[in-house]
């Protein structure tokens, strides 16, 4: 089911980029009114990169080596665009939206 794979990919990539975004001082401060501690920043960064890798795994497993990477790159662009929009207009929504996106990705991945 390609639309579901896409949904899982987009949700994962969004959550991953949200973590990367929040690991940065400026965006963290905009979302939480404080800079992240070094441990938090490092944890968020690790989670973000892990999410991007996981996203790759999901798209390749579901769509194969031909289409998987294409879909992976596409959903990275889409997910990141959403994060930028939130970071610019509603920075405080990034965290709840990412926490919502994770179970969504999980559900979509299970239905696949």
């Amino acid at each position: 089911m390609t639309p579901l794979v896409l949904l899982a990919n987009l949700a994962l990539s969004f959550a991953a980029f949200a973590a990367l975004c929040l690991s940065m001082n400026r965006h963290h401060a905009a979302a939480f009114l404080a800079k992240p501690s070094r441990r938090t920043a490092r944890g968020l960064r690790a989670a973000g990169w892990a999410g991007i890798v996981l996203c790759f795994a999901v798209s390749v497993l579901a769509e194969g080596w031909n289409f998987g990477p294409v879909q992976w790159l596409g959903s990275l662009s889409g997910g990141a665009l959403l994060v930028v929009a939130l970071a610019s207009y509603r920075p405080t929504w990034i965290r709840p939206a990412a926490l919502l996106a994770l179970p969504l990705a999980l559900v979509a991945a299970f239905i696949i």
Binding site: T2, S77, V83, A87, S88
Partner: protein
């Protein structure tokens, strides 16, 4: 090198981007629309039923016979005939014939059942958008060269942009909308749409050039094959082996049985029939099928001896690595493999490409604002007018193209040309308008006009065809629902942009009152 590497790259980026920017913007917009070429074509022929039957082998064979009968009458001396066969997307037969490859081809569309004109209105549909994307509605060779040169400059702009960008990761998520200087916000926007979809931008620009690379750089093949390019295409497995004409007239065997035989050998949908040297004793008929699902764009083909109807060759491409690389690039560029979901991502990436070029163009002019009170220099005025004409004018022209399809009388002569005429009339009018109106007011007014035109598309469609959203929903017509939704979405986007431009206009007026109260008209010009 001017003051070091990064600065020279920045210089290259801004000037290369400016020179090719307007053409690239048009190519990005029409190319992005081309992802929905078949849907646009279908929408522009509202006479077609909601659900179209997949043609049977009998229908296809009969359609091929009808087409060849027509071509024998219309173009007996042609050197090549191309017949697009009926499909689930379009039940008509499309004919194209060349009497000379250097001259524009003759074309016609037929109803395969009657042999007469099809029962749909005359339109170029999505094909116009597709051809404009790489030929700019110019004579084919000229258009492809201009598009190719602009794409090459575009690739240079992309690469120099990446090298110039100091903070790709640090500013990855940064879009400061309300920054103190407008230039900062535009730069952020330009960076964000450029960086976030950079894999797409690089892929689409590079593969776009690669698609026509042998046209731009034919010398290697010409030298190696002594000018016989067709032999190269045959040997690399991209087409069936070329046949040397006999030089004496011959009789073409019935094509219906050839179509049936071809359909028995290949399981993909049959797309096209080509006839090389149709009047020659060694005429060759090739049945071309749609490419199998995959990244690589390679059409299975079955070639027949035109005189006897015997199978010459079955080409079910199993390409060598170099050819496969090429067809994969073409495949990636065209994205025929993308289902509805992935297609949305390609579309979105295409829009981001257009946004990247558009913000870049605006940024060029914002970065060169004249001092308060000073008149803008000629180059800046020119850039501003062209920016307006491209960014606000082209979308309005596209909306006008759709509107003309619904509003022009169905029986009008040369109707398809009138539709294209409406497109260019609106585009040229908007360019002229941009030249006469003060800069900031023109942005707001022209973006509002684009929004109004896109809003008018579903309204006019509903009034003229009766296929408004409620009727579409009742009939299960997903295409019409999506098309209406897309038009409303675009209308909303342009309304939002117009709103923003109005804010900038008001801001400019306030600022001008503070800085230079006596010269109000001039201040408007400046902002």
């Amino acid at each position: 090198m001017r003051n070091g590497f990064r600065q020279s790259m920045a210089w290259l980026h801004s000037w290369a981007g400016l020179v090719a920017g307007w053409v690239l913007f048009a190519m990005f917009v029409t190319g992005t629309a081309t992802y929905y070429r078949a849907d646009i074509s279908r929408w522009m022929r509202p006479e077609l039923p909601v659900v179209q039957q997949v043609p049977t082998p009998d229908t296809l064979a009969q359609a091929a016979e009808t087409a060849v009968a027509h071509l024998k009458g219309a173009a007996p001396n042609a050197i090549a005939w191309y017949v697009t066969l009926p499909s689930a997307a379009d039940p008509a037969v499309g004919l194209t014939w060349f009497t000379d490859f250097a001259r524009p081809p003759g074309t016609a569309r037929l109803d395969p059942a009657t042999g007469g004109p099809p029962a749909t209105r005359e339109t170029r549909g999505g094909d116009f958008v597709y051809h404009f994307h790489y030929e700019l509605n110019l004579p084919s060779t000229v258009g492809r060269w201009i598009a190719g040169i602009c794409a090459m400059i575009g690739l240079i702009t992309l690469l120099s942009g990446i090298l110039t960008h100091r903070r790709i990761f640090a500013d990855f998520f940064t879009f400061r909308r309300g920054a103190k200087s407008a230039q900062r916000s535009w730069l952020d926007a330009h960076n964000v749409v450029g960086v976030l979809a950079i894999p797409f931008h690089l892929m689409i620009t590079y593969t776009g050039i690669a698609t026509l690379a042998l046209m731009y750089m034919p010398w290697g093949v010409l030298a190696a094959y002594q000018g016989d390019e067709m032999r190269f295409y045959g040997e690399t497995g991209q087409i069936t082996a070329p046949v040397t004409p006999a030089g004496r007239p011959g009789q073409l065997a019935p094509v219906g049985p050839m179509v049936r035989q071809a359909l028995e050998r290949i399981s993909e949908p049959l797309e096209m029939l080509s006839v090389d040297m149709p009047g020659d004793a060694k005429a060759k008929v090739v049945a071309v099928f749609e490419e199998p699902h995959g990244l690589s764009h390679q059409h299975p083909q079955v070639a027949f001896d035109g005189a006897t109807g015997a199978v010459l060759e079955v080409l079910n491409p199993n390409l060598k690595p170099a050819s496969k690389t090429f067809t994969t690039m073409v495949g990636l560029h065209e994205a025929h493999f993308a289902g509805p979901a992935l297609r949305v991502l390609f579309f979105l990436s295409g829009l981001m490409g257009a946004a990247m070029v558009g913000t870049g163009l605006v940024l060029w002019s914002v970065a060169r604002l004249p001092k308060p009170g000073a008149a803008p220099f000629f180059g800046l005025r020119l850039v501003r007018v062209l920016n307006l004409a491209a960014i606000a004018g082209l979308p309005a022209a596209l909306a006008a193209y759709f509107l003309a399809n619904r509003l022009l009388p169905v029986g009008l002569g040369a109707r398809a040309d009138w539709e294209v005429g409406a497109f260019f009339a609106v585009w040229l009018t908007s360019a002229a308008y941009a030249g006469f109106r003060p800069q900031v007011s023109a942005w707001c007014e022209m973006l509002s006009a684009s929004a109004a035109l896109f809003l008018a598309v579903p309204v006019v469609n509903g009034l003229t065809t009766g296929r408004h959203p409620l009727a579409s929903a009742a009939a299960g017509d997903a295409l019409y629902l999506w098309f209406d939704a897309a038009m409303l979405g675009l209308a909303g986007l342009f309304a939002f942009a117009a709103h923003k431009a109005r804010g900038a206009e008001a801001l400019g007026r306030r600022r001008s009152e503070v800085t230079a109260p006596p010269i109000r008209s001039n201040a408007l010009e400046r902002a």
